[in-house]
């Protein structure tokens, strides 16, 4: 079906365009805009305006009073200066980067290993693959709360298991040395299915005869992976990594549910910091909160541009 539609639609287009061209000269301009209007309105209302508002929020000195009365004075980059000068800035930046890159590295490596494993299509592979999707299907609040229970210092199952093998219990969520590691572990678990699914579908696109040819030439399994699978999967890998980056940069719920960014900021990232500034206190600080949010957007944008560059280089 889908194939049918895809091939059929473009065919009549040129004939149509030719027939309509005289009419377009008169009211065509307006008709075109009328057709565009829904998209433009949608983009402006739901993307451009919120972005503009967030930028505006971050450039004004907001108090609760001026928020209500809408007369906050323009303060330039003051909010950004406040954020940069905050002692929480350095650790939050470090945590954001560590959280993002460690999560991505493990998610991608494990996801790729599983994808290659499942690509062999053995018996039960479909069932097992479905099982790996479970973290993706669960609402985040459920999985994060479950992790919180499992990692509880006193009554958690993880520490109970450690005790069985005579290892001292670890304060997973309440020790400043472990809190970040704990949320990263939970996030890796949640992110594996996404990597698995995308990379698995990428593997399906690699023609089998390439492998056959390599096998005839006597390539080992290891060589086949590094010389064929990995290079041919590069475009898919790139988009997986980019989406993963953007998605992981802004992870908020898992950290907030598991540690609230604590103990004492030990697992605070930009996402939780921005939330805490704007909503996590009795007295909201919208300006600095928006500033931190914008820094996150800039980071995501940077990686997005990096991806576009990579893609251009690839196609040229």
């Amino acid at each position: 079906m889908a194939h049918d539609v895809m091939t059929r639609v473009p065919a009549p287009a040129p004939a149509d365009a030719g027939a309509r061209s005289p009419r377009r000269r008169k009211g065509g301009h307006w008709t075109a805009w009328a057709f565009l209007a829904p998209v433009v309105v949608y983009l402006v209302a739901f993307y451009a305006y919120p972005l503009y508002r967030n930028l505006d929020l971050s450039l004004r000195h907001y108090t609760v009073r001026s928020f209500v009365q809408g007369d906050a004075p323009f303060s330039g980059l003051d909010n950004y200066r406040t954020v940069f000068a905050d002692p929480a800035f350095g650790p939050a930046l470090l945590h954001t980067l560590v959280f993002t890159f460690v999560s991505i590295a493990f998610q991608f490596a494990i996801g790729l290993a599983l994808a290659v494993f499942f690509a062999q299509n053995f018996r039960l592979s479909a069932t097992l693959r479905a099982l790996f999707l479970v973290p993706w299907l669960l609402p985040l609040i459920v999985s994060a709360s479950t992790w919180t229970w499992m990692l509880n210092s006193d009554s958690g199952i993880v520490n109970a298991a450690l005790e069985l093998i005579h290892v001292d219990p670890v304060n997973w969520l309440t020790s400043p040395d472990w809190a970040l590691t704990s949320v990263i572990i939970a996030n890796i678990w949640i992110g594996i299915p996404f990597n698995l699914v995308v990379l698995y579908s990428g593997l399906q696109a690699i023609p089998a005869d390439v492998y056959e040819a390599a096998a005839i030439d006597g390539a080992t399994g290891w060589q086949r992976f590094w010389r064929i699978t990995f290079p041919l999967l590069r475009p898919v890998s790139a988009i997986t990594l980019l989406l993963g980056l953007v998605y992981t940069l802004k992870v908020f719920d898992i950290i907030w549910i598991m540690t609230k960014g604590g103990p004492a900021d030990a697992s605070t990232t930009f996402a939780t910091w921005s939330y805490r500034l704007s909503f996590g206190n009795l007295l909201p600080e919208f300006g600095p909160g928006a500033a931190v949010g914008n820094l996150l957007i800039l980071m995501a944008l940077f990686f997005g541009l990096l991806y576009i560059r990579f893609q251009r280089r690839q196609s040229s």
């Binding site: 609760v64 009365q69 210092s153 006193d154 969520l173 020790s175 103990p263 004492a264 206190n281 009795l282």
Partner: protein
């Protein structure tokens, strides 16, 4: 387009009426046309639906005042931002029931009317409860009731450890009791030291009970309070999980029956009966002896500023109805709160002897935004919770952690 046309039609109708002098119909369309005699109330009790006593009370108060009441229940964490946004858009509710530390924030934003302006009588309200809603000599609402913290204990655990709860009057006695409980193989105390406002709420009885003041976090008394908590965690009297406990999870730990004490609120009374073990309640002791001032919880009934000041007369009636002695008794029983007036408190104790300890605790309690701290409180509370998180997790000593907190708080409240 349509609004313009409607406005034009309305203007035309009013002009026509002015000319023709149809006073009665113009009045009904003036106040009724837009609001239809409808008054909006927002509260943070989404657990109550249309059939609950609370909503029936609201509807009844509306009927008495001759208006229709439109009530919306919001999650309490949502309500502050909802109220600020509504004020920004100019569609605030007529009556807003909001958590007491938020009152000063909203008052600071210019969102709330004063009780003088509204002519609400606050003379019967206990001054320590009313103080949370007073900033700069003005009162911005009236407490609907109050709750606070005390220590729940497990009778069986204390008996087997040989501890008499009635003898716990100061910190030393409490710590000694915890030591005995630990020696008997049970767990000492659970509380919530989470890095949010909830944690600050739980820390304050110890902080104030030591004689410390929020304007000086790193005073010797303040450090003593944090050292008390820190000592309990380090000695294993309190579990390490307190760092991540909300008051609910802390209660769940106590409900397992392994713990001797739980620092928890009036609102857990109903759950305490469900635990299946004998329990008792003592006030939180202060350092030197006697009841420590615990922070007050509970909501204020406030009246947001309206463009049409004519609405205040009815709003005043609604608020008077909600906080009248009879209705306050019903409401506070429903919410498991202690009343804000002495007369109703006595009535509550007469009906339920168990509430005596809570009435005492509420009378000793103190608003977080009191002492004219107002909107400075949130800026102190956050460094404070960061400090006890840092100390209890072992990343700084209590003295160092509070010193850092004081620097941050001083800079923020300058």
């Amino acid at each position: 387009m349509t609004t313009l046309r409607r406005r034009a039609a309305a203007a035309f109708a009013i002009t026509a009426c002015l000319v023709a002098g149809c006073s009665s119909s113009s009045e009904s369309s003036g106040t009724g046309g837009e609001a239809g005699g409808t008054y909006t109330i927002w509260d943070p009790y989404p657990q109550f639906d249309g059939g609950s006593d609370w909503v029936k009370l609201l509807t009844g108060c509306g009927t008495d005042a001759g208006v229709t009441v439109e009530r919306t229940g919001y999650d309490t964490t949502d309500l502050t931002n909802k109220a600020l946004l509504a004020a920004q858009q100019g569609n605030s509710p007529d009556v807003l029931i909001v958590d007491n530390p938020v009152v000063s924030t909203l008052a600071d934003a210019g969102v709330l009317t004063t009780t003088d302006e509204l002519k609400v009588d606050t003379s019967a309200i206990e001054p320590n409860l009313l103080a949370a809603g007073q900033i700069g000599g003005k009162t911005y609402g009236i407490p609907i009731g109050a709750n606070t913290l005390a220590l729940y204990y497990n009778k069986a655990v204390l008996d087997s450890a040989g501890v008499d709860p009635a003898a716990i009057k100061d910190w030393a006695a409490l710590t000694a009791a915890l030591e005995k409980v630990k020696a008997s193989g049970k767990k000492g105390i659970t509380f919530s030291a989470i890095g949010t406002e909830e944690g600050s709420f739980q820390f304050l009885p110890w902080f104030w009970g030591s004689g410390a003041n929020l304007t000086q976090l790193d005073s010797a008394q303040g450090i003593a309070a944090l050292e008390l908590w820190n000592g309990w965690v380090k000695s294993g009297y309190a579990p390490n999980s307190v760092l991540n406990n909300t008051q609910t999870t802390s209660w769940q730990e106590f409900a397992t029956g392994d713990f001797a004490f739980s620092e928890n609120g009036t609102w857990q009374l109903a759950n305490a009966k469900k635990t299946g073990f004998a329990y008792g309640i003592i006030p939180i002791p202060s350092r030197a002896g006697g009841t420590a001032p615990a922070p007050t919880g509970g909501e204020f009934v406030t009246a947001p500023v309206q463009a049409e000041t004519g609405r205040y007369a009815v709003t005043e009636k609604l608020i008077g109805c909600l906080t009248s002695a009879d209705n306050a008794y019903t409401t506070d029983t429903t919410l498991s709160y202690i009343a804000a007036t002495e007369a109703v408190q006595q009535k509550q104790v007469a009906a339920n002897e168990e509430l005596k300890v809570w009435v005492d605790a509420v009378q000793a309690a103190k608003g977080r935004t009191s002492d004219d701290l107002g909107t400075r409180y949130p800026k102190i509370s956050q460094p404070m919770w960061t400090a006890f998180q840092a100390a209890l997790s072992g990343s700084a000593s209590p003295a160092d952690a509070l010193k850092t907190a004081q620097t941050t708080a001083a800079a923020a409240t300058k």
